[in-house]
């Protein structure tokens, strides 16, 4: 398999999941500063022009929640998802959907305002609100969603990998992490995991 990634992006989650399973894969970097994600070659792989994209012998898969749960499904021994428990699995999907559609989207308004507006003044307005929106999202995670010690409680899952991925953006997004002790403790524990260290040490 090949995983297209960009350092610092949400593709980090897919890389960590692959490392945790021991699956054989090649990581291929896209240089966003050179706009490689919009090159004709890459648009032939992922017409959305985004990362991550996982190239498999069955075809190409995009979107972090789908890649994470696919990796978990084909390597059940790695126990990255509660595959045999439909309710726990649904809670994992729910958490991942919130990260994907609300939290990541809030974050994206810091640098990607052009996706949703055309004027520089709007981009500035969006940028200024990111500390608040990301702070609100993580306050909800801290208070209502995170069960502990892992996102789903006693069961480690893809949601832990995905939460770490986005929690790494908190300081850059201007969020005060002091009111988020549980999220920050989780981030520290995740950063100690060998698979996570391997991805970070490879600058991915």
């Amino acid at each position: 398999m090949i995983l297209y990634y960009s350092p610092g992006s949400c593709s980090f989650a897919s890389l960590v999941a692959l490392e945790m399973t021991g699956l054989d894969y090649e990581a291929r970097k896209l240089d966003f500063s050179a706009n490689e994600q919009r090159s004709d070659d890459y648009l032939g792989i992922n017409p959305k022009g985004r990362v991550p994209a996982l190239v498999t012998d069955k075809g190409i898969l995009t979107e972090t929640p789908a890649i994470l749960t696919y990796i978990a499904a084909i390597q059940p021994d790695s126990k990255l998802a509660p595959l045999e428990d439909p309710w726990a699995y649904a809670l994992m999907q729910s958490f991942n959907a919130y990260l994907c559609a609300t939290v990541h989207v809030a974050h994206a308004h810091r640098h990607r305002g052009y996706r949703w507006a055309d004027k520089e003044a709007s981009y500035e307005d969006m940028r200024n609100k990111v500390p608040q929106t990301m702070g609100d999202c993580f306050a909800l995670i801290e208070k209502d969603m995170f069960k502990g010690p892992w996102v789903l409680g006693d069961t480690f899952s893809t949601s832990d990998i995905y939460l770490l991925t986005i929690a790494r953006w908190l300081e850059l997004d201007g969020v005060d992490t002091q009111p988020l002790p549980r999220v920050m403790d989780h981030r520290e524990r995740m950063l100690e995991q060998p698979a996570v260290k391997r991805v970070i040490d490879a600058n991915r």
Copy 2:
């Protein structure tokens, strides 16, 4: 089970899925014009203050992709998801994630700009761009993502229900549907399904 919904919102997808399975459920309407989704009562059910929320005997589930696949999982005979095929299931999750995190988010910039900015001028800028962003999303679906006759090809899935749900917003979002013959044909066929008709006839 109880499904909290608001007419015209993405909760339509969960209602259709419930109707297709024959599961026993109660639909409870929230009046968004009265801001009922922000009432203390409802925030106790879903602290996100959004719909849909599915109340079950195991707990409360939110986020459309998670609710759809949970309904599919507990009623496998309804064949709303390729539960036995990890690759096809991943493609369904990928399509649903795109609808949730990119297409629905593009749509939300028409009326919900306050989520990401503070100034009226920014809201107007966002509103004006929605026909373009939604048009671009659906052009990608039409050209690259939709396989036909159903989203995933020969296999009907939750992605068909979710696509219908968002495709119903196209005209209100100012999208020219003429370049979208496959999406529009799919919408017509979906609107003929008895379960879809029941939800529409009940003004849900």
